[in-house]
Every structure is written in structure tokens, then in C-alpha cells.
């Protein structure tokens, strides 16, 4: 049919062009950071020569590496927990009507709205004045308390993204599964979950990035030597953030890009095998 395909061809050109431009926009600062990570000068003023020193410095800087490790640990744990809790919550909210649902829904949006500094201070006060004494010292400020605080906003983001997907979903699929004799659990896992997967992944990506980048909440709820990456970086501002942090960013992006590529490849191959 000539009309749709020509219409499709027309669509491809302008959306693709805008997308390519936006990709360029997104990677421009990364390019700048990369270039200056090879710059001899500790400042991003002018090019003074090529060097790999900043990369050596980064790889041998145990403070940064342990901060990176702490940040990744927090992000992975928080997003893992939030993925489960947030998805369950979004499904629950879309299904049931109950007294106080509006309130519950409002609370689930709250983490997005509250200013970081306010929730950071308040969470610390809560932990220090209530949680720690009540638990008899079992709970201490540590990496775990950062995770606990991060789960709060991570699950809000996951729930947000999943719920937008839920509204578009065909509600009869799950009913059909139940009619065919599936238990609610089976219907959930084998019908609903795969449908929601793109949204869950989107939400998790969002939450992961936010957790890795959070500074204020981690600053206030950290303890026991836990130091996340933003804490470490912000603390260096006073004496100047040197290009070894640029090197860190470049390595992070390349590393995670590579990891995602491999994960995608594996998934794709296993899918191909399944289809065969």
C-alpha cells in the first residue's frame, strides 16, 4: 500500500534526524570530558599536552575506587529492592480501589517532590532519634542506611514508569490466563510481568542513575566509613576536581556501555535460539 509506506519513509527521516542530533547533544559533554581526561593540565582551560597520567592516577586511587564500589553496591541493592516493591505497588494501585487509595497514591509520588535536602535531614533525624535507639543499636548508620533511604525514591520512580505502562495494557490478558486455569501467581509471572518488562527496565535505569548521582541523601545517611562517589567528588571541589575524575567517568561509561552490550547480545542470542 503506497500511502503507509511513503508516510513511513517520511517519518523515518525527520525523527531519525532529530534523534541523531539529540544523540550528538547527549554525547558532546562526554566528548569534552574525554578529551580533557588526556590533558596534561589539571584545569579544563587549554590543551597543554597529551598524557595518560590521570588514568594511572585514577586506577591507583583507592579512595575513588572504594567510593565507586560503595556507590555501585548501594545502587544495585536499592534498585533491586525497588524494582520488586515498586512493580508490586504499581500493579496493586492499578487494580484495587480502597479507602485511602488517594492518600497512598499521593505518598508514592512524594519522593519525587520533596526537596532532597529536606528528606536527607529528616531521614537522618529519624534514624538517629528513633530507629537506632529503638533497635538497640542493631541498626547503625552505614551503607545499609543509604540503601534504605535510596529505596524510597527508587521505588517511586519504578512505580511511576510501570504505572504509565499499566494504563495502556490490555486488561483481558490476565483474565484470560486465569480463565484458562492459571493461578494468580502464574498469571502474574507469565503474563503480566513480560508485558511490563520494558517499563520495569526503564524505571530501573532511571532509578539506578539517580541513585548513583545522589549526593545529599547519601551524605546524611552514610556512616561506618561508607563513602559514595558523589560524596567523594563533591568533597574534592574545594581543592579542585582534577581530570582523574574525568578519567573515572570515561571508564565508567565505556565499562557500563560494554557490559550492556554484552548483556543485550546474550539476551538476543538466547531469544534467537528459543525462536529456532
Amino acid at each position: 500500500m503506497p500511502l503507509p509506506s511513503s508516510q513511513l519513509k517520511f517519518s523515518i527521516s525527520w525523527q531519525a534526524i532529530v534523534s541523531v542530533l539529540m544523540f550528538g547533544f547527549m554525547y558532546l559533554p562526554i566528548l569534552v570530558l574525554t578529551i580533557y581526561s588526556f590533558n596534561q593540565s589539571p584545569y579544563s582551560a587549554g590543551w597543554t599536552g597529551f598524557t595518560l597520567n590521570w588514568y594511572w592516577k585514577f586506577f591507583s586511587d583507592t579512595k575513588i575506587l572504594s567510593a565507586l564500589r560503595d556507590s555501585l553496591a548501594v545502587a544495585i541493592c536499592a534498585v533491586g529492592i525497588a524494582a520488586i516493591l515498586g512493580t508490586l505497588m504499581a500493579v496493586g494501585l492499578s487494580r484495587y480501589r480502597f479507602p485511602g487509595k488517594g492518600l497512598y497514591q499521593g505518598i508514592s509520588y512524594l519522593p519525587l517532590i520533596i526537596p532532597d535536602i529536606a528528606i536527607a535531614v529528616a531521614t537522618l533525624v529519624f534514624l538517629a532519634a528513633v530507629a537506632i535507639p529503638f533497635s538497640g543499636g542493631l541498626i547503625q548508620l552505614s551503607l545499609g542506611t543509604i540503601v534504605a533511604a535510596h529505596v524510597v525514591f527508587c521505588l517511586a520512580y519504578v512505580a511511576l514508569v510501570v504505572s504509565t505502562r499499566l494504563t495502556n495494557l490490555n486488561p483481558h490478558l490476565e483474565e484470560a490466563a486465569l480463565d484458562l486455569g492459571a493461578t494468580p501467581m502464574q498469571a502474574f509471572i507469565q503474563v503480566l510481568l513480560p508485558e511490563l518488562m520494558p517499563a520495569i527496565i526503564s524505571g530501573c535505569l532511571l532509578a539506578f542513575v539517580l541513585s548513583m548521582d545522589d549526593f545529599l541523601i547519601a551524605s546524611f545517611t552514610a556512616g561506618g566509613g561508607a563513602n559514595t562517589l558523589p560524596m567523594e567528588i563533591f568533597s574534592r571541589i574545594r581543592t579542585g576536581v582534577k581530570p582523574d575524575i574525568n578519567a573515572l567517568s570515561v571508564v565508567l561509561i565505556l565499562g557500563s556501555g560494554f557490559a550492556f552490550f554484552v548483556a543485550e547480545y546474550i539476551r538476543y542470542r538466547s531469544e534467537q535460539k528459543r525462536l529456532k
Binding site: 558532546l28 487494580r95 488517594g102 497512598y104 512524594l110 517532590i113 505502562r165 517499563a199
Partner: protein
């Protein structure tokens, strides 16, 4: 599969769950998140509210809620101006992200072959793996008078742009950080778009423009709303970009609140009151949006 027999009744193949068991399902879904939020969100928020009712509270003081002085203090032209600036930056960023992000999300969700979709999406979000501070510094390097942008422009004979330390730079920096969020959320919505509807519209003689506005947009309205909401609210909370990129007159509400908690005055009461006000205004906006969305959805 049964053919011309009466519809299979639900009750027959499934065990009718007991009343308690029926409660179990919503509890399992909503319970864990609810408890977590109650402990680590609701109680701290109530704490903030309590703090906001005490004028001049110093950390470590006993909290004796005594009035709305902190709130009254907010309603002065000075602070309202600061709030206004935050709203402007947030709204501007949201608009930019929507306009620029929609084509990208559309392209990835519908036009990119399925095997490359995840990778393209992740590729778009990957730049966010850098610290937001570093990103802002990178924009300084790009936008300053002798920076990357102007070097490129002048080498083509174009006039140099004086963007840094002005509002435009703030919008660029904020849009940069928030564009992937918009794209991620729109993608989740667009990926589910039934392209047969578009084909049907084309069959019925609709131009691409008509198909877009009368089929695509209404179908993805929840995603658009969620994306705009997210970008707007996150934009309200950004104080790094306005400060680094905006120049000498860029005090935002977020920075004002930050200063109350972490400044010389350590006026946690006033900071809490500002926070509560922010929460209240945005909550009302969300509530309205949800109501409108609900009405829309039930009409569909």
C-alpha cells in the same frame, strides 16, 4: 477449546479463595512498599512538617510547634521571586525536553528495528553515568566565551554566542540532564502503541500530522503527563545547574531551601516551611493531573 457451549464460569476451574486469602493479594502487592514508605518517607515528612511549625528552631532544640510564622515569612516579594525563577526554569526545561524528547522516544520505540532498541535506549541514557557535577562543569567548558561552542562557531565565520552565565545556559544544562528521563518514560508508553491504529488512520486518509495528533498523542497521554511531571518536579529540585551556569542572579527555591539547612543561619524551621509549601503546590498540581487523567482514562 470449547466451541458452542456456554462460557466457562470463573468459579469452576478456580478455587474460590477465602475472604482472608482474597485480602492477601492486595496486601502482598501494596504492603511491602507501603511499610517501607511509611517508615522512611512518611515519618520523616511529618518531622519536616513539625519543624516547619516552629519559628527559629535550632537543630537539637526540643520541638514545640507554635505557629505559622515560618509560612508567613515566605510570602514576601523576595522569596516569591525566587520561587518564580524556579518555576520558570522547571517549566522551560519541561517544554524543551518534551519537544526534543518525543521524536527520540518515537524513533527508538517504533522505527528502530527491535534488535537494536534496547541498545539505542541505553546508549541515550549512558551519558547520565557521569556525575551531574561533572556534566555541569563540562557545559561551562562548552558554553564559555572561548569555549568549544564558540570556537566551532567562529571557525565557520559565525558570531560567537554569549550564553554562559545567563538563563539560556541554565536551560541547556537542565535539559541535558533531564532529556533522558523524558525519553525513558515516553519510550515505555510509545513502545506499547498499536501501530495498526496508525495504519488504520492512514487507510482512512489521515495525513501523518493528523494521525500523530489524533492517534499517537491521545494514546500516549499518560506517558507524556508522567514524563512532564517527572521532568518538572526534578527540575524544581536542581540547584547545581542554575548556580554554575546561570550567573549572578540565579537563586532558586532549591538553593534557598538548601541554604536554610546548610547555611550560616541553620534555620531548619524556615527551610522546612519552604519545603512543605513546595510539596503542597506540586501535590495539588499532581492531584489535578491525576483527576484529569482518570476522567480521560474512564472515557476511553
Amino acid at each position: 477449546m470449547s466451541q458452542a457451549s456456554p462460557p466457562i464460569s470463573r468459579e469452576a476451574p478456580r478455587k474460590q479463595p477465602a475472604a482472608l486469602a482474597r485480602l492477601l493479594e492486595p496486601l502482598a502487592l501494596l504492603g511491602p512498599a507501603g511499610i517501607w514508605l511509611a517508615l522512611l518517607l512518611v515519618i520523616p515528612t511529618l518531622l519536616i512538617f513539625q519543624l516547619s511549625l516552629v519559628p527559629g528552631i535550632r537543630p537539637g532544640d526540643v520541638v514545640n510547634p507554635s505557629g505559622l510564622d515560618n509560612y508567613v515569612q515566605i510570602f514576601q516579594p523576595l522569596y516569591l521571586q525566587v520561587l518564580g525563577r524556579s518555576l520558570f526554569f522547571a517549566a522551560g526545561t519541561t517544554l524543551i525536553c518534551l519537544v526534543l524528547g518525543f521524536p527520540v522516544a518515537y524513533w527508538i520505540a517504533l522505527l528502530v528495528p527491535k534488535r537494536w532498541r534496547n541498545l539505542t535506549l541505553i546508549g541515550f541514557v549512558l551519558p547520565l553515568w557521569t556525575s551531574s557535577l561533572l556534566r555541569s562543569y563540562a557545559w561551562i567548558t562548552i558554553l564559555r566565551p572561548t569555549g568549544v561552542l564558540n570556537t566551532v562557531l567562529t571557525s565557520f565565520g559565525l558570531p560567537a554566542l554569549d550564553i554562559l552565565n545567563r538563563d539560556a545556559a541554565v536551560l541547556v544544562g537542565m535539559s541535558y540532564s533531564l532529556l533522558p528521563y523524558m525519553v525513558l518514560i515516553l519510550y515505555a508508553s510509545l513502545e506499547k502503541l498499536d501501530t495498526r491504529l496508525l495504519e488504520a488512520a492512514a487507510d482512512l486518509g489521515a495525513t501523518p500530522k493528523q494521525a500523530f495528533w489524533q492517534v499517537t498523542v491521545p494514546q500516549t497521554l499518560p506517558g507524556i503527563a508522567a514524563g512532564c511531571l517527572l521532568v518538572f518536579i526534578t527540575g524544581l529540585g536542581d540547584f547545581v545547574d542554575p548556580e554554575l551556569l546561570g550567573g549572578a542572579s540565579s537563586m532558586t527555591a532549591a538553593r534557598l531551601i538548601y541554604n536554610q539547612f546548610l547555611g550560616a543561619t541553620q534555620n531548619w524551621g524556615f527551610g522546612s516551611a519552604l519545603s512543605m509549601l513546595l510539596i503542597l503546590t506540586v501535590s495539588i498540581a499532581i492531584a489535578l493531573l491525576l483527576k484529569y487523567g482518570d476522567r480521560n482514562a474512564s472515557g476511553v
